[in-house]
Every structure is written in C-alpha cells, then in structure tokens.
Amino acid sequence: MSAGAPGALDRDKLYTARLHAARVRPYLATALFALHTVESRQVPTMAVDRYWRVYVSAGFVDRTPVRDLAGVWVHEVSHLLRDHHRRGDRAARLQGLEGPGARLRINIAADLEINDDVFGHGLVRPAGAVTPQHLGLSGGELMEDYLHQFGLGPRTQALVWLDCGSGADGMERAWDLGADGAHGLSAHEQDAVRFRVAQGINGRPGSAPKGWKRWAEEAFHPPQAWRELLGAAVRSAASGAGAGEDYSYGRPSRRSAGLPGIVLPSLRRRPPRVSVVIDTSGSVSDAELGSALLEVAAIAQAVGGRRDLVTVVPCDAAARIVHPLCEGEGIPLLGGGGTDLRAGFAKALQAGPPPDVIVVLTDGQTAWPAVRPPCRTVVGRFTRPVALRWNEDDPHYRPDRTPAWARVVEIGSGAGR
C-alpha cells in the first residue's frame, strides 16, 4: 500500500481521484463507490467488467494526474451506468459484427457517447480521451448512431491501445474475473445502483447536464418507437366497444340453430371510421407528416377500415403535402378548415356518420376543444428540437397542454432505437 514502492498501486492517489469525481458529480457517487477495485498488470489503463469491477494498472495511476484520473473514473462508471456491454452485444448481434476489430469500434463508439457530454464543469477530459471532433463527427449522439459513422483507419490508428474492458463492449478480456469472481454485482444489484443514480438526478433537476438527465429519464423506461405506440393507440381506439370487430345482437349467431328460442350474439365487423385532423402551423416537415399520415391510414386499414372510411381534415398550412398524398392513396379529403385546431375538430365531427376515432397530428402549440369530443381521440404530437420549444426548462412534460381525454403519442422521439 505504500505509495513509494515501484510498481505498487498508489491506492491513495486512485481514491483521491474518486473522491474528487464524487465531489464534482455527486449524483454519480453511489455508482462510483459501488465499483470494486482490482489491481491488474494486464490492463493498459483502467477497464471495467460487466459485474462492476474496475481493473486498474498501477503504472497508469502513477503517470496520470489526479484530475485526469477523476475523469477516467467517471468515464468508466458511465460505461456501466449506460449499459454499454449489453447494448454492445445487441449491436454486434444485429449488425453481424465479430472479432476484436468490431469490438474496438463498439468501444470507441461507446467512448464517443460518454466523452461528448460528461466532461467540463469541474471535471477535466483525461489525456487521450477520444471525442467526436477527433473523428470529424458531430456530438450528442448515442453509441448505436456513432457506430455507423466511422471505420477503423488512419484517424483511429492512435486509438488501438484503447481498451475499456468487457463492461464497455461486451467482449470478455483475459483479466476478467468473470461471474464467479468475488465482489461482483448481480444484475439486481446493478439495477438498484442504476436506479439510485437515476433517482438522484431526477430528484434534483438542474444540477446534472442534459445528457445525464436524458439517461435518467430513460434508464428504466426506454423510449418506444412512435410507430408502435401510435399503432397501438389507434388500434385500441378503433377496436373498442361500438366500433371494429365485436359481438352484436344485430344478427343471430350460427349456434342459434341448435338453441331454438334463444338469441345468441354473433361476431360482426363494423369498420371504424377514422378522421385524421392535421394541424401543422407550418413547422412540421413534409416527410414527418407524410410518414405519420401513411402510418395512420395503414393502421386504420389493418383494423378493418376501408380507404373510404378514412377521412383527412387538413388545415390550410398543411394542404400542400396532404393533397397529393391523399389523392395518391385514394383517401377522401374534406375541405380545409381554419388554422385553429378546434375548427378542425368541429369539421371532423360534422361529417355524415360521425367518426369513431379522431387522430390529430399536431406539434402541440394550439388550442384544444374545451369539452371532450364524442369519440375516442388519439393525438400524435411531433416533438420539436429544443431550440424551437417555447419552454426550455421543461422540455418533456407539459401536462396542461394536451387535454386528459386524449391519448398522446410523441412522434419523432425514440424512433429506430
């Protein structure tokens, strides 16, 4: 333990760095302290495994300043908190990546995800930490996104020594103590630590940077693709009682023949009428709107609706994209309403037989009807980039904006993940 002996791990220096890291990132303290330190001569620098052990090279600690070491601590614990080994495994499986070269790319992509937002505010970026700028990429993206954007080549030549261990990319290393080794954390214990860190960040908004806040929000509820959510919402609205496929006494069941005098219901299909109200205020891109509209039409057809039962009520601003799309798809078009969404609702409800479901595609910056419309309502809300929002402090939740009687699906968030 003596710091002076050559080749021995200077634990005091290592722990001083951890203390510094815990002081500048208090919300990570639980995770930092949960790591079990293992001295290893095989590790080039510092590396983690999937059981929350951190392997440390004595030489690396010796030649690295405390401030840089603190950054390395935070960097390594970020790999574990962000579940990079499991995500790395998944990415490797999905894309057929095999071998050390592919795992190095996963490690680099994971490093980019961490390094683009954890440093600064009292924590220095350690020497040699790779950033998106080094590879000519833009920052703020996820490991999975970075993975597509670079290959191993001259730019990454300097990084081949880089090795954050199996906790970063999912590939077992020679020095790993494995599942049976002492002081590992079980899956449940890892979840518990991760949960406490997320709670600490959510509980004290303002102190953590945006990247960590996003992580904390999604740690236990990963975002779902909006297509699936919108599909489930529209299907469930269209197949509820009174619409879609259900039992009806309107016609007797085939079983009635065997039970004279008894009326049994039979399965009937009454195709749901779906009205799509579109309000864009000019700020929704044609591509976004087109894909959402096509999605709704496809779902309505899948639940038994016919094209002639899907109507579109466009507001003036959206007419240029809605018209060609609906003409091409054979969707009947109702005349344009005002730019006020309440007018769009009124227009949709005026239609011949009233719709069973109203699907509203909007960016949310509009007025809503004061009373609940007499049919199920699904709102597909386009999420706007932070810069376009009018409330930057509370970018995700505006409970008073959309009425409680509508089911709201955020469109454009979490897609493709």
């Binding site: 001083t16 951890r18 600064g120 449940h188 214990e189 709670q199 779902q224 197949s239 079983r255």
Partner: protein, 413 residues
Amino acid sequence: MPTDMPALSQLDVAGTLLALLGETTTEPRPDDRLEALTLAVAADLPVLLWGEPGIGKTAALTQLATSLGLPLTTVIASVHEPSDFSGLPVVGDDPAEQGVPMAPPDWAVRLVRAGRGLLFLDELSTAPPAVQAALLRLVLERRIGALHLPPGVRIVAAANPRSSAADGWELSPPLANRFVHLQWTHDHDVVVRGLGGTWPRATLPRLDPQALPAAVDFARRAVCGFLTTRPPLVHRLPSGETRRGGAWPSPRSWDMTLRLLAFATAAGSSREVLSLLVRGTVGDGPGLELLAALDRMELPDPEALLRDPAGAELPERGDQRQAVLDGIVSAVNRRPEKSRWDAAWTIMARALETGAPDLVVVPATALAALRRDEWDVPATIERLAGVVDLSRRADRAAEGAGDRAGVPAGARP
C-alpha cells in the same frame, strides 16, 4: 426377397422417425423466470406472461404443471365466443318461469370436478373485446357461468406485447393491477441446446415449513416499513403512453407484493427472482425502491454499531459502506452525546483500516461538524489524518480543474 418382408408402410417409417426426433433429454439449469412464475402460481396470484409468439411460453407452462403435479388445461381465448366463458344458455320447459340456465363448457366442468389444475389462457391479446370482457370475470371472480372455480385451480394467462399484437389489445389499469406481469423472452443458448436434444430442467423452489412465520413477519415489516416512509407510492396510476398496460402500485398490488415477498423468503429465493416478482407487481420504480429498502434493512443497524464500535462489522461494498457511515453520523446527530460521538470516530477509524479511504471523507467531515465546544477531541482522530490529506489533495485537484475544463487533455503536464 423383398416380397417376404412385411410391407412397412411409409406412415410407420415416418412414425419411427418422429419417435427418434422426440427423444430428448433434460439437464438441470437455474431459471429465475421459471422460479418467479412458480412462486407466483404457488401464491395463487394470476400471472400474465408477456412474450412474442413461439418462444416457449406453453412449454414453460407444461413443465410447471408437471412439477407442481397439476393437470394443465389450455384454453385458446381467441377461438372462443364470450358465451363459452359466461355460459351457454340452455332452454328448459318453461324459460319464462324457470329462467335459462347458463351451461359451462366441458373443460370447465372437468376442471371443477378435478378440484385442482392449472388453467392456461393463451392468446389473450388476439381475442375480441367481448371475449376479453368475459375472461375478466373468469380471472377476477373465478367464475364460468354458474360454476365457481375451486381454490386448487391456478390461472396463468399469456399475451403478446403491443408491438406484435395484431389487434393492439392492452390491459386497462384495473385489470393490469391484478396480474403479476412477467416478461418472457427466449434464451439463445437454451433454444440452441434444446433443438440439439437437451432441454433445461429447472429446479423449482421448495417452501420451508419451518420458515413460514418468520417469512410473513419479514414481509409485513418490509412492506409496511417502506410504505410508511414513502406514502406517495401507495397508489399511483400509470401515466404516459409507454407505461400503459403494465404493473402499477395500489393497495391491492402492494398486498400481492407482500404475499410474494413472504413466499420468496420462505422458499429462500434469490434477489433476482424477488426483483422480477416485485417489479412485475408494482412496477419498476416502486419495485426498485422497495428492493433498495430491503437492501438497507440488511445493513447493520447504526445504533447497534454505536453500542459496540470495537466489534463493528462494516459491509464490503463501497456504496453500502458509505450508507452505513452516513447512518451513523445521522444517528449521532439525532441524539448527540460525547460517548456516541467518540464511538462514531472509532467506527470511522475502523472503516479506514478495512476499506477505501475516500468513502470516509464525507461522513468524517460531517461528524467533525457535530462537535460541541466542551467535547475533547478523541485520540482516534489522529488515525484519520490520512483522510484529511486525501481530502486536501482532492481539493487541490478541484482548484486546478476549473481552468482546464474543456481544454484538450494533455495540454499541460
């Protein structure tokens, strides 16, 4: 001579081939999900298995029924009519006078006659809404027409996740609240080995008759103690589209959690199994908080440590150790006495000798701040000089960090 041979029909040959293919063996393999399923079934709580079609939910149920010695009745919900669950009307002599009795289907009659069994309601998510409504009554009230399911019958249902369900059925919050939700995914290794002829055989948990009273006591203490400190978690309806149809906390689901906690304790199950059950009953957030509270219950009691500081046993894991040290400081803060303050310093010194020093810095600083003017500094504080030094070095690192933040690393020596 081929004519002498009894002509082997092609179907017989096919039968032999099928028999060969059917010859599989099993190997023991721990399976947390199967253990969780077994415990929930033993606790007589309706379980809902969420999983993509074709990943072996039925196979798991078959194994469970065999090991519990229960006959398995599978009902594919989507091919039935509502009257199959609410009863088929049978016309008697004078319907106006005697009413129309609702006759139950044959499988229900057999199940009631047997008095025990495992009822598996498959494909819930593709049944029309009216069938689901009829099934609700079966799951919630255990009634089929005029029949009442005996207590020996356990119910397990299966549903496809929303993303793969053709009709997008989802559970209403009241219904979701009555199920233990278990996610069923396939394990790559198990599937490959199973296709090779060796299927896993899970060793199922056994309840220890000796441990029952202690298990009930522990479960009540854990859940009540936790809800006392976290009143908002007693009842919280799910909000947001992503959390629809899942587990959420309510007095009912907390009662289920208590029951599962007692069963898991009596069976000596691991935390992993308990985690699946608790999170599947009250949801991820409240479940994880309860589990964290259980972890804290297992940590040494600060008061006990203060009574015997010399023999203090501190947890090995850093974050737990720090939680204990913080607990000691707040215990001293609650009842500040010189002897307790001294005892706390002894424990700090022990912590320093047996583990990483950086954990001690924050609690030691907080403890030092609790000093009253009339209290003498104990000799043990000398042993904490290293901590002060560590803290000072970290301060220096912090001072230097400010001006270097954001500058590419390696710019300075």
